[in-house]
Every structure is written in C-alpha cells, then in structure tokens.
Amino acid sequence: MRCSRGLLALLAPLALGQAAPPAEEPRLVPDVSQRQVEIRYRFSGAELLLFGAILYPGGRTPDAVPDVAVVLKGPLQRIVLREKQKVAGIWMNVERVRFRSAPSFYAVASSRPLAQLVDERTAAIYELGLNNLQLSPGGGASADTLHRFEQGLIDLRQRNQLYAEYPHGVEISEGVLYRARIVIPAQVPVGTYTAETFLIRGGRVIAGAAREIRIEKLGFEGFIAQAAEHWSLSYGLICVALSLLLGWGASAFFQRRYG
C-alpha cells in the first residue's frame, strides 16, 4: 500500500501530462500575494492570499465550472514521533516511529470538500488532504501502530496550526477567478514553500501549476538566528556579557538611587 503510493507519486507528473492536453483543457494562471514572507520582531503570523485565473480554451466559460484545490506545503522534515503511555503510574515516552518526509507545514484549501472532488486514488497521487500525506515512516511498526502515530502527528500539528484543511476555502468568482486565504502561524518553520493549484473536474485533475514562496527571518531576527548558528561561541559570550551588563546596570542604578 505504502509502496504503491510512492510509485503513484512518481507517476503523478506523467498522469498530469496525459490528463491535460493543452489545446482542449483549461489552463491555470496562479499567483500569491507575497513571494516572500519576512519574519521580523513583531511577526505574529501572516495570511497568504493564493489567487489566479482559469483560462478556458476559446475563452468561453463552460456551464459546469471546474473545482479548484490549493495546497501550500513547507519543507520536508525528518522527525521522530514519540508516544507517551502510562508506566507504573507515570506518563512517559514508550513507543516511537521515525518519519523521513513529514511536511513542516501543510494546508489545503478547496472549493468543495475534497471527498466530493476526487476519489481516494487521485487524492493519494496528488497528496490532497491530511490523510494522504506521504510521511515515509521507518520500518518495524505494525500497520495499526503506524496509523495511530500518523493520526497523532496530524492532530498535534493541526492544533498548532501547522497542518490545516479548508474544505470551502477556495472562492471562484464568475467561473474564472479563484482565491484562497491560508493562515501562517507565528511558529512557522523557515524555508522554501510550494503553493500548488489544481483544477479538478469529474474526479480528475485536469490542470496544475505551482509557485514558490520563501519564508525567511530577516533584519535583527535574521541576524540573531544567523549568529547563533554560525558564530555560536561569540554569540554565547555576547549573551553572557549582555546579561551581566543588564544585571550590573540595574544594580548600579538602584544603588545610586536608594543606596
């Protein structure tokens, strides 16, 4: 099952190519409100607007407007997920599963609930929906255990706003223009994100397009993150010096004032 999913993912571009001969099927022209999200000192999350136009062959809008799904995905992470169980009256980490490709961020918005748009097979091919993420778990665990851990990870990250589904998040106006809002929380990891848009009709993906978005730490925040990473000893010394200076400064100030 896992294996076949992986294979399907490899074949996905081929399938898309077959499904969308350029002359007869509509095309997508996507864009995003920000190509770059800058994390600065007042950053408390952001709202990305993913929008675009559907270009129909011959310029005629059909009576049955196709559906749109938009996926925003962050860089993949290698993680260990640990599960707590009660042992001798104490809750402690007992079991663990490794995932080699857990997206650090995943949000999908669609014009109708995904279950109504595509069948399971198509959803798996295009990684549409939280239950179709290809997390690449490490071997050794039973299927039941894997399922439990996958659900645990999805639930945890959903509550942290890192994973989200917006079943009615895409708005299509006049059958031509579409737009979706996706919330990015403050604790979003940095890196290159991809925003993919899929045009869906009759359970099939008939067109797709992608854009990249960079999420970066800039300014003072970026400088600190860089310093901590590359000049760690100097950074540590500066931290100590700063705390000594602040502590001594307050002490001297109070001494003069009340001493």
């Binding site: 994390i39 600065r40 000192y41 007042r42 950053f43 408390s44 999350g45 992470q77 290698r78 993680i79 260990v80 997920l81 640990r82 599960e83 707590k84 009660k86 009256g89 104490i90 809750w91 402690m92 980490n93 663990r96 490794r98 851990f149 645990g152 990870l153 639930d155 945890l156 403050a186 604790q187 990891p189 730490k217 003072f220 925040e221 970026g222 600190i224 993150a225 901590a228 990473e229 760690s232 000893l233 950074y235 540590g236 010394l237 500066i238 931290c239 100590v240 700063l242 705390s243 000594l244 602040l246 502590g247 001594w248 400064g249 307050a250 002490s251 109070f254 001494q255 009340y258």
Partner: protein
C-alpha cells in the same frame, strides 16, 4: 505586546515574560535562589520549546545573580574562597551533565527524568526546610531528639575528610573536597534541569557544611553566577538554543525584582524567608508530581532529526 523570539521561533507577549522575570527576581534577591526551577517550567508551560526554555533561563539567571552578588558583597556576605572551590566543582559537573543530557535526549527520556528529579529533590528539600523553619518560628514543637541533642555544628562524615582548609568568612575549618563535591552535583543539576541550583546549594551550605548564615546567600549567588555563565556557553555551542531576546525580556523584569528582593530581605526574619522558600519549593514539586501522574495534554512529541 507581541514580540517574535528568533531562536524559539514563535511570538510571545513581552509583558508576560517581563512580569515572570520580575516575580522570579524578587524571589532571587530575597532568598538567594536563581529561580530557574520556576522560570523553566512556566516557560515550557507557555509554549516555549524545552531546550530553548532551559538554555535561556540559564542566561537570565546569570544576570539576576550579578546584581544579587553585588548587593550581598556590599554587606560582606560573600565568601570568595569558598565560592571558588564550589565553582571549580560546578564547571566539571556542567560539562559532564552536558554529556548525560545528550544521552537522555537521544533515548527520549529526558522529560521524564527531569520531572522525576524535580519531584524528588524539591519534595525532600522543601520538607526539610519547612520543618526546620516551622520549629524556629514556634509553629512546631521541636522533637525530643532535637531537644536532647543541640544542633550539630559539623557533619561527622564531612569532618572526617582529609586536607582541611580554613574558610574565614564562612567560619569553617573543613576539607575542600566537601564543597567541591557539592559544586559538582549542583553543576550537574544546572545543565539537566536548567536551574541555578541555589535551592540545593543554600540548604546544603546551612545543614551539611554548617557555613555561617550571613555568607550563605551571597556565596550561593556567586556560584550560580559563574556556573550559569559557563552553562550558557555550553548551550550556545552545542544545543544552539539560547534565545537572546527571551533572556533579555526575562532579565529586564528580574534584575529590577532582585533589587527589591534584596532590600526586602534585610527587613525580614530569616526563618520566615526560609518558610516562604519551603512553601514555594513544595508547591512546584506538587505541580510536577501532578504533571507526571495526570494524562498529559500532548501524548505525542516531535523531535527533529
């Protein structure tokens, strides 16, 4: 007022952090504990990743203790000689502790070990201090045994150790091996628990070493100052989780709190101070024990590879 923390990778309410620092600073100035055993759990509870909470709280404690050390030095309340011996032990302990920390982190048991250590340590120390302070405040009647035998000046095992030194300020003639070992254990705790270790150091100095009461708090703060500075550098170079913005915000509150705390301490009975510390320590222990036994909010935790 929301501020983004660059290393923790999330935004927090700056006023809450400054307020937390202020409260902990007040405690520091009053009783000579670094307050890390309060800061670290509250930061984690607030949603800061545990390594960042531990490392940044350590940095903050350095700043809080300098103002405390200076305030106590003015009142001749620091034994530098004794402090140097304890610090030497502390630095060795923190390096070894760093190694142990990584071992536990890789096996996924660091959280549980931290919680169990917290509960055991805080309960025994808090209980001991509460009993002692209650007796001194005439709340409890001294037991028959204590009445029959007046308080021991020296612990017999410590008195047996070789190479005795004279510590004038502390009023002691004991082997430096005892404070060295004490420093070592505290340094281990600094790295593992993200605490200054004052809550172990202060009672140990009073009850085990028998140091004279005026230099206990100041000397403990001196040790905390140096060992937390060393630990900050260890964290900055290995775990890379010292958040200078978070530490700065905590400091802003705590350096001011510590000043008021030191002034406050001079006007209060030392037994009453010890009673307050005992109650706080027992409270944190109780909360930690509950956390271990109750079903946690998050069953799953993610660790990056």
């Amino acid at each position: 007022m929301d501020i983004y923390l660059p290393i923790a990778g999330l935004s927090v309410n700056a006023l809450v952090i400054v307020g937390l620092g202020g409260l902990v600073g007040l405690l520091t100035g009053m009783v000579g504990v670094g307050g890390g055993f309060l800061t670290t759990p509250i930061l984690i509870f607030y949603g800061i990743p545990p390594p960042v909470a531990v490392a940044s709280a350590t940095t903050q404690i350095t700043g809080t203790s300098i103002s405390g050390v200076l305030a106590h030095r003015r009142r001749k309340g620091v034994d530098v000689q004794m402090g140097a011996v304890i610090i030497a032990g502390g630095v060795i302990g923190s390096i070894l502790g760093g190694f142990l920390f990584r071992l536990l982190q890789n096996s996924g048991q660091i959280d549980t070990v931290i919680s169990i250590l917290y509960v055991l340590l805080l309960t025994s120390i808090g209980g001991m201090m509460a009993k002692e302070a209650a007796t001194a405040l005439d709340i409890l009647k001294p037991s028959k045994k204590a009445q029959a035998r007046p308080a021991r000046r020296h612990n017999p095992i410590i008195a047996m150790l070789p190479f005795r030194w004279r510590f004038y300020r502390s009023g002691l003639y004991i082997s430096p091996l005892a404070p060295l070992l004490l420093g070592f254990v505290t340094g281990l705790l600094t790295v593992l628990l993200g605490v200054g270790g004052g809550f172990v150091m202060v009672p140990a100095m009073i009850y085990l070493l028998g140091m004279s009461a005026q230099v206990v708090v100041g000397t403990s703060l001196l040790q905390i100052l140096f060992v937390t500075a060393a630990t900050t550098i260890v964290h900055a170079t290995t775990t890379r989780s010292v958040d200078i913005v978070l530490a700065g915000l905590l400091l802003l509150g705590s350096v001011i709190g510590a000043q008021y705390g030191a002034r406050f301490a001079q006007k209060m009975k030392p037994e009453l101070l010890r009673m307050i510390l005992a109650i706080v320590v027992l409270g944190v222990a109780f909360r930690m024990a509950l956390q271990l036994a109750w079903r946690p909010e998050e069953i799953y935790t993610v660790q990056m590879l």
